[in-house]
Symmetry: C2
């Protein structure tokens, strides 16, 4: 039985469908929206539509961007011979924050995970292979998370790329195994970048 | 420095402005929105605008509604001589869920709280006084929260309504059903003792 006006029920339901938001929190958030001035509530709605409409994957590195090719791929100051392979856009941010890395990226948008029915074709591996096949790339740094799925993905990709003769490295274990890259502190990430090791 | 496309940054910022949502959660929610199919993301945006546009306060009881007068105030089966005064719409839901109450409501949208700069004029007390002054109401049940601010508000309102000669009651204090006496706080136990009832 619904006690709230239907449009409010719908809004609560939408919030409750977000990850990590339960029924009580969804109610609180919906009430908060109602308490906002009209223009602020509308700005929130617009932010959703606009982000969804304008943000897509960079044609080169698959990172999120609102232009055809992202700012990093376009920058003449970045070294296009080095590509750092990450599982998601948040890791790009984490690495950029160190100000230590000057190469390009490749965002996989996931890792190989048989348990979650994610196979090699479900993430952007093909696009990476095509980039490497183009011949400009000299080093590929595997920066997937240091957990089982991240390792498996790194190994799988490095085996695919071996025939192209590029140097393949991975982030050094400067960080505790099991920690998500997204939450690593800058100093740890920096050391891990500096000490990257070649994958045999 | 912003690493994400600006429309994504704006969306993250919007989520981060919600109560109880930090920067990391806001990122996670914004990414979730991007991962939704176009029509679902748009439905979310629409839910916000629609709720904000259609939901307002009932002209009579100030509860949230999408019509001029809410369903409870319109219902011929509800006893309009009894009005239960609550601080917010969520309390209406809680009381409705008991299926025990058949009267009307009055939603104050807050409680008197000098510390938070909320005075009697900032909540819907005037509207309640007007309803009582109309003369149809015989009993007003104060159902504000049993804390200092709720008590203060209840006392303030009951003093205002006294001159109209209506019966003014408040929810009984006592032990919550199912709570072990061992874990009851002193104030609750004291009230439960004071209000002890004869066993027939």
């Amino acid at each position: 039985m619904s006690f709230f006006p239907s449009s409010l029920e719908i809004l609560i339901e939408k919030f409750a469908s977000l990850p990590g938001i339960g029924q009580k929190s969804a109610q609180r958030l919906a009430f908060h929206i109602l308490s906002l001035p009209d223009e602020e509530a509308q700005a929130f709605a617009d932010a959703i539509s606009t982000a969804k409409k304008t943000v897509h994957c960079c044609a080169v590195c698959q990172n999120l961007t609102d232009s055809e090719v992202c700012a990093i791929c376009q920058s003449p100051r970045r070294d296009e011979r080095v590509v750092c392979v990450v599982s998601d856009p948040k890791t790009v941010i984490a690495i950029e924050r160190t100000h230590e890395y000057n190469g390009h990226y490749h965002v996989l948008h996931g890792v190989i995970s048989p348990l979650n029915h994610v196979g090699p074709d479900d993430i952007k591996i093909k696009e990476l292979v095509n980039r490497v096949a183009d011949g400009h790339i000299e080093e590929v740094i595997m920066a997937t998370n240091p957990d089982t799925e991240g390792e498996t993905t790194a190994k799988y990709i490095s085996r695919l790329l071996k025939p192209f003769g590029v140097k393949i490295t991975r982030l050094a274990y400067g960080m505790p195994v099991g920690l998500s890259l997204e939450f690593a502190d800058d100093a740890t990430l920096m050391r891990a970048l500096e000490g990257r090791q070649e994958i045999e």
